[in-house]
Symmetry: C2
Subunit: 680 residues, 2 copies
């Protein structure tokens, strides 16, 4: 027996109905992201046990009210489709019939439709002669709230394709190892004979596949009944290049396995080519790495946690801007990280990650010009900025409070754990307050714009006097204590200090010499911080050094057979040691978004293309071959592509929009207008 | 194929395991109530369409961390059961095996176990040689939060019994009407032949059953295939005395129907008997009414919305204290109404209902002595008190802001809608701040105790000078404006003013004469306000008047055939008009909790028994026969029953605990010690 009614999404999506197709699905902003984030981030399976994120998770609002002013000359018959239970709360109480149709009266009034769904984010779609859902509708979760603009962002839909292994090797005990030839993510589709229990090891290296329970990611399954032959799928997509089926009991035999590759269907709009084939290969693998981690959200890596981290996201936002351009993944990720009230912890519990999140929101705005999004997310930026300001120490420095994680980088020892104010955090905090002030202006909050601007300037003014050591000519990691200068010197604040213009020319030169080029100062551990170090070298025109570093570091991974770039790479270790991290033999992720930075560094600092006004309304092209003979590339923007060709002294820029400024190596400037070409 | 693992409640509840049975299920406080409240309150079906509450709904936290200090001499094997995905986050990361067992190391550390469940509230149960879950565990939803004491409150479990109709009448068109003899709530269990669509009308009166779609609560169903005979159940329990099956299409025939009565298995510990059989019958029907509405939560009524309203709850808390004593329904209801952050609206969006909720929390404390609950709910009391204080007008009066509903009673006209400060709201606000100050002391928040105490006193001091009209000798509804005294005189503030001691003797006498006994002042519309009016008459010793009013009003409903008491009763209307409300012919609920107040008024003000210290540690017995010849009753307390017999001048009180004071009609006082009997 079927209960007639009730407005469930599944029942209606398939119905072809001319009226209904006029409206679009709308939601409360952030609801979908909270729900999807919780779902995606619960897929971490470690040693057969699921483990969730250790920071606060929020739910969507289980019930929201959509509303819109209408002015109807005559009554109107509308079709109400909802993800959840829906009813028309005003005018009066209008009930839908069993097919979801309702007739609303003539007049000038606010139609309010309430949708409830405790399990999935409420969504609404109305179709009618004049009344239909679109972005002019508003939504709220409680009667008192000032309405939000409803979002009509589409659901994330993944694409699938079947991939055969390049090699399959039975193990003689019913199990097998298959190699899919390159780093992949997908659902395994396999055929078994008989019954019994078995372990599936999702492995990024052959060594890991053969490591049994010492591998990092595996699950155990059981086929209870005797079967002649049966076909199965793993529960959701996992990262792997190799897969090992290990029979644990029974008379089981794995007959065959295929991979249902799961990926986000998003085109590569950016491109880069040059005369150096190793660099081209690095760009290709970096693009593939970024694409693998660009899914429902920007994930850190696809192997292990598959969680959404703000530090990683900040880099993905910039990399993705040069590969995919403005895209819904960026908006989803920034929205998820912005969370909801009440704030329970820093973003990902990490002090620096709150600041990187604010900076990333602004960078998205710079690439997209999406003021609507800035207005939508502004309350979260304000909430986190105010929260951060409420937790400073007596000197107004940002410090780690109990429960906060002061991460910076995977560096050994006391660098992050020391309780006092850290120079790098202050540089980042001052920058994020400056950014927050700018966003306040976009959102029309003059008071906050003024407040944050003032606090940012005050903090910035204190950083050099507090942390600069004039003997060592560098920003020290900690501030002096009891009149004694701090001993610890690290790269972090100095790298950002160069980039953010903290130093005069003499200071800058000294910092480069004493810190960046000084092998005695602890090196960068991860590609994550390679991004920042190389960026600051580019900022001072050291592209030649950077090109060499890219070839050494990323080329080094390629030489070891990498098909995607890693979470961490240390050229000094050998063999299987490369796969170890976190004290586990296969703890390292071999496909990590922050490993993909060449896809950003090459177009941004070699082709030299960057926006200087939101949405690329204005932009700059300042090419630097860095020792290459020629390079060509495409940079995607909201208005189309910017194409740059640099062959020796010959520079050609074509663009379909925006106002560009081409800056020649000798400093000469030239305006680039749409469709114009400039050359010398 | 079955995926091994993963710690799901369903899989493990049935497993008999000695270790696991040592622990209890624990949760984050409030999580279960938010989830259950959302579920229960979404069962409103109006004209076939579901409609949810119009105030904010909150979700449980999708992920929480349970923790406990342990000190183990040797490693310990524990069994981890969870509602959700669980893993041991510290020490280190300890993984459970496929049966949910894990071995935790020796040492002194805090074990932290994270449980995630987006759909149902996370819960945890640990069994081990020494480590097991109990109320000494703590829980938090984010790393920064100071831990909460975990709750081990059990789930709400309903009971069922099958009831045959007293009469079944086929309608000759395949349908039928059945009468279950009295107001009931349950799931219909029915047998049909053939296929087609039909409407089920859940009716509280025979007229409603026959009213087709003019009835208030009906659903349409469809049996798609041809069946010889098939058996079905309605989706969840609905209120009804009558049910009508109306065949809409097809060759359907309803063969039979039974009711699976659904009720909360909670014993009546209170009792009342007297020489007046009509009063005894009123007590019985009031007890039945309260029991029908005492379920997952205190519901307003069982017919229509079945929602949880604070004003109704405040009365149910007091009524239930005299019928059931301290019980989990009270804690669940108060917790649900307390909501979560951020506050989006007044409780139920109603100004007065925020204040009634605070008062009800304190009344529960008075009846139960449950300081643990007060400490748990204190952050919510503080949040709502602060929020209310932040929304006062320039004179510090509580006023309705846009989106607030100033309800008071179902009274006609501008009484509630006027924007200005209303005297009744100030009386209630001052009282709730006084109560909040008391609770602050129980919770150990000295600063808030002082702040609320001061604000309550200041507000109270302003009420008489502002609202008292010395010509009319009463508190006016509004304050004077532009030097002109307000015209509107209502009972509300005057009723509470008597009860809360606002008047001197001369004023009190005048108020009784000019307002309470004055038929020209608009009368009370609902039993809801009968409760307060009769309570204030009892407070001044007018039990004789009250007894007559009870016999007239509740006796009047009985004479009309009521089997439970109504949402509203107007002796002046006739026939089917009694069932109309909200402009709908059958809009009225015929089983409404606030109709049950005799179950409170009789023991409280006739037997005269009330607690004077939390948990009935001290209490008072001040009998007043009010014209009865004799009365006897039992009042339940945490330590057992207090039994009171009053036959003319002879008063007998027996108690198993607490220190009582018997106050004779002539004012004489006598101490009642446990098991002692006192008589004259």
């Amino acid at each position: 027996m079927r209960r007639i009614v009730i407005l469930a999404i599944a029942a209606f999506l398939a119905v072809s109905n001319a009226l209904a197709e006029e409206g679009v699905w709308i939601r409360y902003p952030g609801d979908y992201e909270m729900w999807l984030g919780s779902d995606v981030q619960s897929r971490r399976i470690e040693h057969g046990t699921p483990c969730g994120v250790f920071w606060p998770e929020y739910s969507h609002w289980p019930q929201v009210t959509f509303e819109k002013e209408v002015n109807l000359e005559k009554p109107e018959r509308i079709r109400v489709e909802a993800c959840g239970d829906a009813y028309i709360q005003s005018p009066g109480m209008v009930f839908t019939d069993a097919e979801g149709y309702a007739t609303i009266p003539a007049g000038n009034y606010t139609i309010q439709i309430r949708v409830k769904n405790a399990v999935k984010p409420p969504a609404l779609k109305i179709g009618g002669p004049t009344v239909k859902t679109d972005k002019s509708w508003r939504v709220r979760w409680c009667p008192m709230e000032s309405c939000q603009v409803a979002t009509d962002e589409n659901d994330c839909r993944m694409a699938y394709e079947t991939v055969e292994p390049v090699k399959t090797e039975p193990d003689g005990k019913g199990g097998l190892i298959a190699d899919f030839g390159r780093e992949s993510m997908g659902i395994l589709d396999y055929v078994v004979e008989g019954s019994g229990s078995f372990r599936i090891i999702y492995a990024e290296s052959e060594e890991e596949a053969k490591a049994g329970t010492a591998a990092d990611v595996w699950e155990e399954f059981n086929i209870p009944e005797e079967n002649q032959e049966s076909s199965h799928r793993t529960p959701f997509a996992m990262a792997l290049r190799f897969v090992r089926f290990e029979v644990l009991s029974g008379n089981l035999k794995i007959k065959s396995v295929k991979l249902l590759r799961e990926y986000l269907p998003i085109p590569y709009r950016g491109a880069f080519r040059c005369n150096d084939e190793e660099i081209n290969r690095i760009w290709d693998v970096a693009a593939y790495t970024l694409h693998l981690t660009t899914r429902e959200f920007f994930l850190d890596g696809i192997k292990r946690d598959r969680w959404v981290w703000s530090g990683d996201t900040r880099q993905s936002v910039n990399m993705a801007a040069y590969l995919f351009a403005d895209n819904p993944v960026t908006r989803r990720t920034l929205t998820l990280l912005g969370g909801k009230d009440p704030i329970g912890a820093h973003v990902n519990t990490i002090l620096d990650y709150t600041f990187f999140w604010i900076i990333a929101v602004d960078e998205y705005y710079m690439y997209s010009g999406d003021t609507e999004f800035v207005k939508q997310i502004w309350p979260r930026v304000k909430a986190y900025a105010d929260w951060s300001l409420s937790r400073t120490d007596k000197d107004s420095f940002a410090v780690g409070r109990p429960g906060d994680w002061v991460f910076i980088d995977w560096a050994p020892g006391p660098m992050s754990l020391h309780g006092g104010a850290v120079s790098f955090q202050q540089v980042l905090f001052a920058e994020s307050l400056r950014i927050a002030a700018q966003m306040a202006e976009v959102a029309g909050d003059e008071a906050k714009a003024k407040e944050y601007g003032k606090k940012s300037a005050e903090l910035r003014a204190k950083i050099m006097p507090t942390f600069w050591n004039d003997e060592r000519k560098a920003l020290m990691h900690f501030k002096p204590e009891n009149g004694e200068p701090a001993k610890e010197l690290t790269r972090y604040a100095n790298i950002f200090g160069i980039f953010l213009g903290y130093f005069d020319d003499a200071q800058k030169e000294a910092v480069v010499r004493n810190v960046l080029d000084n092998p005695d100062v602890m090196g960068i551990k991860t590609p994550y911080w390679q991004y920042y170090e190389l960026e600051s070298l580019c900022a001072i025109g050291r592209q030649e050094t950077v090109l060499k570093r890219i070839k050494d570091y990323w080329g080094g991974m390629l030489k070891l057979g990498a098909t995607s770039f890693w979470e961490e790479y240390d050229p000094r270790v050998e063999g299987v040691q490369h796969y170890a991290m976190y004290g586990r033999p296969f703890g390292k992720s071999l496909c990590h978004a922050w490993g993909a930075s060449p896809v950003y560094l090459l177009p941004r600092y070699f082709l030299g293309v960057k926006p200087t006004k939101p949405g690329w309304e204005e932009y700059e092209v300042r090419p630097n071959l860095g020792g290459l003979e020629w390079m060509e590339g495409t940079i995607p923007t909201p208005f189309g592509e910017i194409r740059v060709k640099v062959h020796g002294n010959k520079i050609e820029v074509r663009s379909t929009g925006g106002k560009g400024t081409l800056i020649y190596p000798d400093g000469r400037r030239e305006t680039i207008l749409p469709q114009a070409a400039s050359q010398e």
